[in-house]
């Protein structure tokens, strides 16, 4: 307890420096703006800003990028409540009751409870992260290559298991990500694989051209093709502070949402999206009036909004302790840490305590900033939503182009980004999820290295993966999850009717 307190104080010492405070503020502000604007999700925003952080110290860079992620969770609720379009995927369920509340003249209270709920959940999530991370790190120090291989394999399987569409398609996308990760120089033998003599491919497929293409360019293409119909709530937004009655009805959902969100956030493949759906389903089940959900119940806003914030905080646990991403945004953050020459994992806390504790405590400060920012800035966000999307598209594309080019001053990277943009567009059209691909691309080199090192250690015997207890449990779980869809039982989808 004393050590944690000491570390937290040390973390605040790092996070409270003017530079880090500035980047934390910039991150949460950009994140909220990204969350407000439908069509540009946190992965695209983080990818867009990643090249800009190359010249920065890693601590403010990661503080800012993390701020974008949890800031987007706050911002997403504004669009869900006022426009009936989720600003990002984790706010989908907020549209159900949030927009109905706005139509009944209670937009202010919906926005208010979502901001307060997010703050409480974010804060509880950070406390959970502070207490859970050190013991998990001690546990992770026992891991060798077979355990890492099994854990990363389980991570990919969980992402597939929890994907919304076809499991076969998700598995195909994950495999494609692994295949793409083999492009470039083989780290063990030094051989070039699938480079076709191209200088651009020698270092492998860059995370930035891929994410900017698959999220930035593909999202713009989809929006251009499908269009974004927006019907902005035009009434005045008054009474942002929830009443005593609102608090009485919301505090339970907020606390439950915080718990559900945090633990689902830790799970690979979980994160904020799953957390918000699980919280909504839980509140509906626990309610005395489940039939009223979808008609403007404040519990339907408070719970999911708390859950998605706690979920985004929880997803930092596997990144900071095991060096394994649990969702696509965290995968991009993992890539960002590696670009800055840092190896996330159990040694990060001892090697770079300033980064580890600085980032964690900055999240607490960021949550306070978000609470202060969100309520007075709602008018500004409403105005922002009125900017025609057609005017924003060329600017998003320009940012993608310059960001990708500035990586290595190579137009080849731009071409790669365009190819991935087309691939991302086609994937959406053919109903393939992109997240498993990105996650596998990031994990791929680590997974392959752990696989080959395990085989070298065992003298070529695959039994090493099942002889060691941790590895055996993880691989066993992965197999069960892979086989579950084959059982003659219908996979239960969340009972939430989104019209």
């Amino acid at each position: 307890m004393e050590t944690i307190l000491h570390n937290v104080l040390f973390g605040f010492g790092v996070a409270l420096t003017p530079v880090n405070l500035f980047y934390c503020f910039a991150g949460v502000l950009i994140g909220t703006m990204i969350g407000v604007l439908p069509g540009i999700g946190p992965p695209a925003a983080i990818s867009l800003l990643l090249p800009g952080t190359f010249y920065m110290d890693p601590v403010p860079a990661i503080i800012m990028l993390a701020g974008i992620y949890y800031g987007a969770m706050y911002g997403g609720s504004t669009t869900s409540i006022l426009v009936n379009i989720p600003g990002e995927t984790a706010s989908v369920v907020t549209t159900l009751d949030g927009y109905q509340m706005a139509r009944q003249g209670r937009a202010g209270r919906a926005l208010g409870i979502s901001a307060f709920g997010s703050f409480i959940a974010g804060t509880l999530g950070i406390i959970g992260l502070m207490f859970l991370a050190p013991p998990l790190i001690r546990f992770a120090l026992r891991f060798g290559p077979p355990e890492y291989f099994a854990l990363m394999g389980l991570g990919i399987v969980l992402v597939i298991f929890l994907s919304q569409g076809s499991a076969v398609k998700a598995l195909l996308m994950a495999s494609l990500g692994l295949l793409l990760s083999t492009i470039g120089t083989d780290l063990i033998s030094g051989a070039y694989r699938f480079t076709f003599g191209s200088f651009v491919l020698i270092d492998g497929i860059g995370l930035i051209p891929l994410t900017m293409g698959m999220f930035g360019v593909a999202e713009v293409l989809i929006n251009i093709e499908e269009g974004v119909d927006r019907n902005i709530f035009s009434g005045p937004v008054r009474g942002l502070f929830p009443t005593k009655e609102d608090w009485k009805r919301s505090i339970g959902p907020i606390l439950r949402g915080s718990g559900i969100g945090f633990f689902l956030g830790i799970l690979p493949g979980g994160g904020a999206v799953l957390a918000s759906f699980a919280s909504y389903a839980t509140e509906k089940r626990l309610s005395r009036h489940p039939e009223k959900f979808g008609t403007g119940m404040i519990e339907g806003v408070a719970g999911p909004e708390a859950a998605n914030n706690a979920g985004s905080t929880g997803s930092f646990v596997p990144l900071l302790t095991l060096g394994i991403p649990s969702n696509v945004v965290i995968a991009i953050l993992l890539g960002a840490l590696m670009i800055h020459g840092l190896q996330p994992g159990p040694l990060l806390m001892t090697k770079r305590p300033d980064l580890f504790w600085g980032v964690i405590t900055s999240m607490y400060l960021g949550n306070i900033m978000l609470l202060i920012l969100n309520l007075p800035l709602i008018g500004l966000w409403v105005q922002l939503l009125k900017i025609p999307y057609t005017l924003l598209f060329p600017f998003i594309l320009l940012f993608c182009l310059i960001g990708v080019y500035s990586l290595n001053s190579s137009t080849g990277e731009i071409i790669l980004m365009i190819i991935f943009g087309v691939l991302g567009y086609a994937a959406r059209k053919f109903r393939y999820e992109v997240a498993p691909l990105v996650l596998s691309l990031v994990i791929g080199p680590l997974l392959e290295s752990a696989f080959r090192h395990s085989l070298i250690l065992s003298g070529g015997s695959f039994s090493i993966f099942v002889q060691r207890p941790i590895s055996a449990i993880l691989i066993g779980t992965a197999f069960v999850l892979l086989l579950l869809p084959l059982l003659p039982r219908k996979r239960k989808a969340p009972q939430i009717d989104i019209k």
Partner: protein, 158 residues
């Protein structure tokens, strides 16, 4: 708005063929790398294993699509005009890549925004001009002045 069918009645069949071809090509390419053995795996082992998984899954998708009794989803688009806008945007992006180092970052950025707001989503001339000027100068300030990225200057002296 009613969506238009692209005529791809067997979308899963087409996508399964893509995966099977991709797997076949990568197996052929990866077989050129040393495979090693399980005691000392070479650079070819992992890509071949992954390609085999893709091949297997592609075949599952292929047969599942052939044996499917209920109607498959069709790939639809909002309108053919919308698709032509997508193609135009891709051409603009390609044009940016081709001309960036020849004309310079400021010029191609200005042209990208101008043409986007002229051809893809036509706007009034002064909006086009203001957005193109503001956007390219804004990016110049952010990337060249603030972040000191080395962007190509082209024929301009700055």
């Amino acid at each position: 708005m009613k969506e238009q069918d692209l005529g791809m009645k067997h979308s899963e069949l087409w996508s399964s063929l893509f995966w099977i071809l991709l797997a076949a090509a990568t197996i052929a390419l990866a077989s050129r790398f040393p495979f090693g053995d399980f005691r000392e795996p070479g650079p070819g082992l992992f890509p071949i294993l992954i390609s085999l998984i893709i091949l297997g899954l592609g075949l599952i998708l292929f047969f599942r699509s052939l044996l499917r009794t209920k109607e498959e989803f069709n790939v639809t688009v909002r309108s053919l005009g919308a698709v032509s806008r997508v193609i135009l945007v891709l051409l603009l992006l390609l044009g940016y890549a081709v001309f960036l180092e020849r004309l310079g970052f400021l010029t191609v950025s200005f042209l990208l925004i101008l043409l986007h707001l002229w051809i893809v989503y036509p706007q009034r001339w002064w909006i086009r001009l203001a957005a193109a000027l503001g956007g390219s100068l804004g990016c110049y300030l952010i990337f060249e002045v603030w972040l000191q990225s080395q962007l190509p200057k082209g024929f301009l002296p700055f």
